[in-house]
């Protein structure tokens, strides 16, 4: 599934005295089966874009189309082909691991035995066998991350939206989860939109890095990442990785400085 964004804009508080333009004419074609990383300073609207693509937030302008490349011209409804992995995870604290993972199937009316069988297999595949009946609060941060991943994967949607899913993890756990995600991507070839503000993460994971401007968020530059797959953390030490990092770093530094000035202005003006 291709995700085609055309002049997407999002304005918060448009009727109020201080409208905030989060996104402004964002255009990009996220190609089927590619891992695209949205990289930008905080407040540039990259999370908002992911939610708009998922049909969870209505854009104030422009359009998003989900297209099957085999059948162009018949766009699919937003949200029907995608599933989100959230920054805050949003696991249901009263549900056990297995009932969190099976939630989507339960909503679809899949019988208990069938959805549990599927959920169990997925839980095992993300390395959580034996923890089916724990509650999220009884797990470590990395384990909760895996639950959220399994809960998204069970939907078997071709598009995976990931909103800074690893931002809250410690460095070691983050590495493990990144390698896990690379493995899953190689195995499934889903279309992934991955929102991050970490340059190394974006280059390690992505086929392309879409560098966004400070608010209002626009595409500043799209950097193709031609590092070979399957990838592992070892590529971080290659010359190519270093060159890509430098290039991205210089692009983003400008924008981060702008974003910081904006924030300072907002604080000063308040």
């Amino acid at each position: 599934m291709d995700v085609v964004a055309e002049n997407v804009s999002q304005v918060w508080g448009a009727d109020g005295p201080h409208p905030v333009v989060a996104l402004e004419s964002f255009s990009h074609r996220f190609r089927s089966g590619r891992f695209s990383c949205l990289l930008g300073p905080s407040g540039c609207g990259k999370s908002t874009l992911a939610q708009i693509v998922g049909g969870l937030e209505a854009a104030t302008g422009g359009s998003i189309r989900i297209e099957d490349p085999a059948r162009p011209g018949s766009p699919r409804p937003l949200g029907a082909d995608s599933v989100m992995m959230w920054q805050g995870l949003n696991l249901f604290p009263w549900r056990s691991v297995i009932d969190n993972v099976a939630f989507g199937l339960e909503m679809r009316g899949v019988p208990r035995a069938e959805r549990y069988a599927k959920a169990r297999a997925l839980i095992a595949s993300v390395g959580l066998a034996g923890f089916e009946h724990h509650r999220p609060a009884q797990l470590s941060g990395g384990m909760r991350q895996r639950v959220a991943l399994a809960r998204a994967l069970i939907m078997e949607r071709p598009i995976l939206l990931m909103d800074e899913p690893f931002a809250a993890l410690d460095a070691q756990t983050k590495i493990v989860m990144q390698e896990e995600l690379l493995r899953i991507f190689d195995a499934t070839r889903k279309t992934i939109l991955f929102v991050t503000h970490a340059i190394d993460e974006a280059i390690l994971l992505g086929d392309e890095v879409i560098v966004m401007t400070a608010r209002p968020g626009r595409v500043k530059e799209v950097i193709p990442i031609d590092l070979p797959r399957p990838r592992s953390l070892d590529i971080v030490n290659t010359k190519e990785f270093g060159a890509l990092f430098d290039r991205t770093f210089h692009l983003i530094r400008e924008e981060v400085t702008k974003a910081m000035a904006q924030q300072a202005e907002m604080v000063g003006g308040a």
């Binding site: 989100m84 959230w86 949003n90 909503m107 999220p136």
Partner: protein, 265 residues
């Protein structure tokens, strides 16, 4: 060798300290009454209160009055919780219901419920219906308010996540909003139980007929200056209240272990 033993001794001392204060207070009280000749109608000695308490247990009167009060408490609480939860959920799910109910709650909640006694007696008489309604009306408010605010404070992220995973409106209400509001609903039920106990005893004391219940026992003993019985009733009611509240907390923890503070999510 000595270190752990000293630690254990310290721990036992720590645990025994509250009990020790009770013993000391009772002993001082007993000695004061005995050796200062305080008249028992003002302050009976703990030992004679204990004797009265035992007599009330032995002749079955305590069980009779306590039983009557407990039944009223549980019926009043059941009525209040059911009505309060249903109303709170309706308010949480429909803006229109919330807007209409809100002015009624705003007007009636601050009203001291004891001031409803004359009206309730005119409408319902002085029997069981009056006692139960007075307590149920009082307990209804904390339950409905906690339920409604619990629903309003549900994490929007959870609702969005459920939506993303294909839940429809009905499923979101049943599978996300209500479970997420349970900690708050339980908090409302605990407040409701507290005021139910207070209002049942108040109704038994004021205007109620039937010659039963702890409130009746308390006020009828007071009127004939059987101060030992007054004290005995107070002790029983304190223990009753503490046991009810503690078992409710225990039950809440069993039913909603995720809601316990410190367990986080």
């Amino acid at each position: 060798m000595t270190k752990p033993r000293r630690a254990t001794a310290a721990r036992i001392g720590e645990a025994a300290l509250p009990a020790l204060t009770v013993v000391v207070v009772l002993a001082v009280w007993e000695l004061l009454v005995r050796f200062h000749g305080i008249a028992p109608i003002y302050l009976p000695a703990p030992s004679s209160i204990a004797v009265y308490l035992w007599r009330m247990i032995a002749d079955g009167s305590l069980a009779f009055h306590l039983g009557a009060t407990l039944i009223r408490i549980f019926v009043g609480f059941a009525v209040a919780s059911l009505a309060g939860i249903v109303m709170g959920l309706a308010m949480g799910m429909s803006r229109r219901v919330a807007r209409v109910a809100d002015i009624w709650i705003a007007a009636l909640y601050p009203l001291p419920k004891i001031s409803l006694i004359p009206l309730l007696i005119i409408w319902l008489g002085t029997g069981e219906a009056y006692k139960i309604m007075l307590s149920a009306i009082t307990a209804f408010f904390p339950v409905v308010i906690s339920t409604y605010s619990g629903i309003r404070q549900v994490d929007r992220g959870l609702v969005k996540a459920a939506e993303d995973l294909g839940a429809n409106w009905r499923q979101i209400q049943l599978k996300v909003i209500i479970p997420a509001a349970i900690p708050s609903i339980f908090a409302g039920l605990q407040l409701g139980m507290g005021v139910t106990i207070i209002m049942v005893v108040a109704a038994e004391m004021i205007g109620g007929s039937g010659r039963s219940g702890m409130g009746y026992l308390l006020i009828s003993s007071g009127q004939v200056m059987e101060t030992e019985k007054v004290f005995a009733s107070l002790i029983v009611m304190a223990v009753m209240g503490a046991l009810i509240m503690k078992s409710q907390q225990w039950l809440d923890r069993r039913l909603a272990p995720w809601a316990v503070q410190g367990d986080g999510r």
